[in-house]
Symmetry: C2
Subunit: 324 residues, 2 copies
């Protein structure tokens, strides 16, 4: 939650002039994004491009070579009616530019707020939009491998080491053998598309019960659609710290999804393990971040145990939860 | 530069419902303000109150008992045509409310950007608007003492102590006797009004060469108008680190001011010392903040030496710079 780079009004005005969006009127650094800096930018506007935008500067984690995939995906989805912000291209047609040695993109601003405590009606909407996104992304030509699959996650945990994990929580090293089991049994051959793979509530903007935008596609990759549903289930259906499964929310999410795209028997059968893999993915990245983050750093560390509890829940109750 | 408090969309929606502004559409925490948290809020709007606002939560430094002064001042200035954001009052007529034990205010959003490298034309506009603000504030009924006058600043520096100051910079303790001299000779009886007293470039929003808003009045107090001009001169007329006086900018600022409100001979004569007092005010608060801030804290410490250089400049060149 930070703006890592300061950009003067003069620099921002020059940047904005590279786009057909009119002149700079306002720019506020916003406290969102852990891998990039973001500004809410207002201009005098143009007929084609409107006048409010998110300017993103890519600071970390994102490989610039992958930006055409991420930004092209936004354009493909937006052009086909999905509620995602489109990328504003500059006057030369480029979707990103370099500024002070970093890549920046100007992205459509969409209204909506991220809910903290989703209702079943909101989860139903999210499921529906997720399925629509999966179907629309089927004919997106770009591809990107999932570098956070359960094999990678199991390896990350093993590399952290028993001792370092135990320092975070005494129960955390127990996940290592579970991770290997999940990776070994990982389902193959499920229908794929480009998936979001990180659809937490803060990556969904809502107006009431309606999804106004899916945002932050920087983990998007080609993988099983049912896995994306499992990630979203793990992200939406629990109280904040992973205690307390909210059955009505989880159920509404899957129902919403199936109202657009029915799950095959193989997908439904795979969901309990896919959900464990989803929990594993966040356990491993959070454990690694925890270990890599200095004790006095300014970021709020996310507790991997929140997702250990979810993993345990899916191991115990997954079959029942995802029964048709 | 932070958002100190997280507010869920649900809490924000409930808060917004207390005002005649329509329903919540968007809220982004913005990376501004060191003593408070701010959100850029959009609503469906109402005819009287528009639809874009800054929501401020007062976190530190500001005494809640003083909020009626600060917010009432905004309303007085805005109602009389000064470019300052007005306060949106809630349905009961209150200008601030309590939320989670902290005071919050909903304030009109005004366009504009803060310039880093002001041009003379921009400085002229700022001078003009500052003078207009002083004249308009003459009949504002509220009063607030300046608790950062040179006597207070001299005391703060002395309380920091020679050793602590020397740790920041070997030359800093030399300011202690200078501070006493400034305080002893401080001019009395100059014409007063409510002054902004902190009008740095980031507290002015501009559209081109036009001032669209003066913001952040949380140091406003009753004091000499010429002192406010001196503060603004010290804040606007130097390159960032206090090296390099930008004569054209400083001159344009004073000319702009005088195009609205002529300085009396006494005010003009006092300016060199007032400017030294202005520099002193920021030296002392920065020195104190420097000492009070843990080495590993997340805030960027501001170097008091930037203003020691300005102080030296005004001691050497003040008479010449402010000659009619």
């Amino acid at each position: 939650m930070a703006v890592y780079t300061q950009l003067s009004a003069e620099v921002l005005a020059d940047l904005v002039a590279e786009y057909d969006v009119g002149e700079l009127v306002s720019a506020k650094g916003i406290a969102e994004g852990v891998s990039n800096s973001n500004w809410l930018v207002e201009t005098t506007g143009s007929e084609t491009n409107g006048k409010r935008f998110i300017l993103t500067m890519y600071e970390r984690r994102i490989d610039i070579a992958e930006l055409p995939f991420f930004l092209g995906l936004l354009d493909h989805l937006a052009a086909n009616g999905c509620p995602v912000p489109r990328t504003i291209h500059d006057r030369s047609g480029a979707s990103s530019r370099m500024l002070h040695g970093k890549a920046v993109a100007l992205i459509e601003f969409l209204p909506g707020v991220s809910v903290d405590h989703p209702t079943p009606a909101q989860a139903r909407s999210v499921g529906r939009v997720l399925a629509e996104m999966h179907e629309t992304a089927q004919d997106f030509p770009g591809t990107r491998a999932n570098d956070l699959d359960p094999h990678a996650s199991a390896r990350v945990l093993a590399d952290c080491g028993q001792d370092a994990l135990a320092k975070i929580d005494a129960a955390l090293p127990d996940v290592i053998p579970v991770a290997e089991k999940i990776a070994d049994g990982w389902p193959q051959g499920l229908p794929q598309s480009v998936i979001h793979s990180d659809l937490f509530p803060d990556n969904v903007l809502m107006l009431g019960d309606t999804v106004s935008a899916l945002i932050d596609f920087y983990f998007a990759c080609n993988d099983a659609m049912a896995y994306d549903l499992a990630v979203t289930h793990a992200a939406w259906s629990f109280s904040g710290d992973g205690h307390g499964y909210r059955a009505e929310v989880g159920q509404a999410l899957v129902e919403g999804y199936e109202s657009v795209r029915a799950l095959s028997p193989e997908e439904r059968e795979a969901l309990p393990l896919l959900a464990q893999g989803a929990a594993l993915r966040f356990i491993s990245s959070r454990a690694q971040d925890w270990i890599d983050t200095p004790a006095d750093a300014l970021v709020t560390k996310k507790d991997p145990m929140d997702f250990v509890r979810r993993l345990e829940f899916y191991r115990t109750n997954g079959t029942e939860v995802f029964a048709a």
